[in-house]
Subunit: 458 residues, 2 copies
């Protein structure tokens, strides 16, 4: 008996497969097809991928890990996916709040960017943005800015996942003086990162009102040549729709893009889509266009309320984004975007049942992955997917008493409750401490550059 018991244990130990890391938590929100929420669960990780997800006892029986992170008082979830931002604008945070969009752009943002944006600015701004995003539970972010190659370099160094869109715009900007030059630069950028584990390069024509139809089409050709996402601001303001109708025989921006043929092929992500008509929503669905909903930005700039519930009902893939922090928001807080998305939809529809917590948490995870065309890689905790996951501590009073996990995640917990962040199997935040960026250095550089920016506006 003694012998056979020992043999059993030996066999079990021998049978346990190796893992790089096991993360366990009081609750595991998988976002898998069955939407399993596992009490006392764990995730085994190897080579940057998820090996298994299940009850902790099973994972411990089946896997032997070099390293463990145990959080009995936390909720383990897929990492949050930010589908729209402009990371380096972190350095312009709060530079001009409470202003008309036109004043904000022409008196502050364009002058500040024109005088200050260069590769050094973009690198320092990316480090600050990525530090804040990671600490708040974001594991993938989607960007559109200048010098996107430098942004990719900093993002990769910090161990963050990024879908990074090189801006293409019809007038001279900091990195390229013509859209042709930007398209050529974008191609080199795509070639450099197209097989990267963390960086998904993308082409980002800014908007229909800042690009010619030829440029919009050329950007599509480039995106399709490499199978990368095509990211564009669409129908952010009523003015954009009104101007489009005037210039293009009554068409909405979405219908105009469809008429150019740029929605026919490949992956497309629209940012905002505030002023989407029912016909627009049908176009989004028909062409598998993803939408990045930015409630903070749309509220703060007074842009309007995107018809998100109608989009979800139609089967459109919708993710969430904080947009840039220089006026349209002041932070990169995905927990705030979740809370706002739910509340904005409810008050606008005057229906508290609209956008329940389950749907909102899906937008912040799997929905965002789908909007980016990356649902086979990220967005849920399932074997084979990339190991992007976070733990959210329940140790603060706003988490007590414990109740429905989705309700807690969307309405009660905050970015500050995020305890650990694992991206591509690598812990980048552990027990609220960042492991891949030096906060003192990030702050010092941000402060120094901002002083120059403020001086440049005087």
């Amino acid at each position: 008996m003694q012998l056979s018991w020992t043999s059993f244990l030996l066999c079990a130990a021998l049978a346990a497969a190796p893992a790089d890391l096991i993360v366990s938590a009081g609750k595991v929100v998988t976002m898998d097809a069955q939407r399993r929420v596992i009490t006392d669960g764990a995730v085994a990780i190897a080579a940057g991928r998820i090996l298994a997800v299940g009850p902790r006892a099973e994972i411990d029986r089946d896997y032997q890990a070099k390293r463990r992170i145990d959080r009995p008082d936390a909720i383990l979830t897929p990492g949050l996916i930010n589908t729209h931002t402009h990371a380096p604008m972190s350095l312009l945070r709060g530079i001009a709040d409470d202003l008309d969009l036109q004043d904000w752009l022409t008196k502050f943002i364009f002058p500040a960017e024109g005088k200050n944006v260069n590769e050094e600015f973009v690198r320092a701004g990316t480090r600050l943005a990525v530090l804040e995003m990671m600490l708040g539970g974001t594991t993938t972010y989607t960007d559109m800015y200048y010098f996107e190659g430098a942004i990719a370099d900093e993002t990769k160094k910090a161990g963050m996942r990024g879908v990074l869109g090189q801006t293409i715009i019809g007038f001279p900007v900091s990195d390229y003086k013509t859209p042709q030059a930007a398209l050529a630069g974008a191609e080199l950028f795509i070639q450099k990162y197209k097989n990267d584990a963390l960086i998904t390069p993308a082409v980002a024509p800014h908007a229909i009102y800042t690009n010619s139809p030829e440029t919009l089409k050329a950007a599509r050709v480039l995106a399709d040549k490499y199978g990368v996402p095509y990211i564009i601001h669409v129908s952010e303001t009523q003015k954009e729709n009104d101007d489009c109708a005037k210039d293009h025989a009554g068409a909405t921006p979405t219908a105009y893009l469809q008429s150019l043929g740029v929605l026919n092929t490949g992956r497309t992500l629209f940012a905002h889509s505030v002023w989407s008509s029912p016909a627009d929503i049908a176009i989004l669905k028909a062409h598998h266009v993803g939408v990045a909903h930015c409630p903070s930005s749309n509220m703060k700039l007074g842009s309007g309320t995107a018809p998100i519930a109608a989009m979800l009902d139609a089967g459109v893939n919708v993710g969430l984004g904080p947009d840039g922090p220089a006026g349209s928001n002041n932070d990169f807080d995905m927990f705030e975007e979740m809370d706002l998305a739910a509340k904005l939809a409810k008050v606008t529809s005057r229906d508290p049942k609209v956008l329940p917590a389950t749907k909102v948490f899906e937008m912040a995870t799997l929905g965002g992955a789908r909007a980016l065309g990356m649902e086979k890689e990220i967005g849920s905790l399932e074997p084979g997917k990339r190991a992007d996951l976070i733990t959210v501590s329940q140790s603060a009073p706003n988490a007590w008493p414990a109740h429905d996990v989705y309700s807690m995640l969307v309405f009660a917990l905050n970015a500050s409750d995020v305890q650990d962040v694992i991206i591509e199997g690598r812990p980048t935040v552990e027990n609220k401490r960042p492991l891949t960026l030096n906060p003192i250095e990030v702050r010092r550089q941000a402060t120094a550059i901002r002083a120059k920016v403020d001086a440049s506006l005087k």
Copy 2:
């Protein structure tokens, strides 16, 4: 020369007045009449009151303190004033989200309260609520619930300031079976606390649709007998307005209360006032009625958007409140209410200039004090006022780079950034640690009671 220099120092030391506490910070936001923001400033405190506010060098020259709290990397502001909540509902947090108001009330809240609310419940719920509120920078909160005497006892023990309204309602509830009994109980409660430094007792007839006109008037008489606030939910939903119009010859709830004469005298605070007409706003102004704006609650329940900008333009005193955390919100986060108040007003009006950060921060401090009729005691950092103040750390990346303090406080900083809380001159939170409540015990009790509540609903 040597001698006279020593004499000078000696005289200076002798001249320094004693203080109990000096709190200094990188920036001091005073909310005084000049709206001074003092760089490297300090506040001297004695006997629960503010002695002086000024540059740190001056305060250090003029006062000698027994104790110091120095926060060069924080912003020091008046404590935040919550003008509407139901503290013990912390125990029902998230019990039923994303539901119609009627389902929420009749299937969850009323049964849960009917079966579970007693003095023990109220005490445990108050401790949890006060712990969360304090950690998030609230120094005064306004309550409406049952067993308000027990709430006052717990609030005072925790060192929190409260404006605590005993509910008067026209049907049997947990503490009193008739409004007459509730009024009699309220009088005893008021007598006990009327001269308390921390507790301001109040009379809180629940709403016009749950009380007879006789009760509404009797509550006014009681409030005026002791000069305490009269707190009532008004025009929270369109249905309330529609029903009132049917029952009272087309009158709005505000006009109906005016017609009863209950607005003619004393201090009055309306919670919500979502469906206020321009005529209602004129009544609020004429009778000095304060309004507790609850953006989270109004959004989450789909109630509508209160015309806050119009109220402020008309000179109505408006404060902010998170309402209860059992469905209308899920937390007591005044930073979230500030952010939401600004963004909701901007998106509703489609004007980003509406409710700028300066006005919103005023609502959370001095505006709330005015709405409560307490602006001579709290709401700003001025000599003679009660020493209610907080420090908000800038050590997290969401605070970088530093910019306009009001914009930071409203749009970028969070409850989790609150570092110290001083109420009536007493530190109740120091460096994010609560000093007057035991979190482990608070959590244990909340968890145990919630388990009973959940079982009672099965």
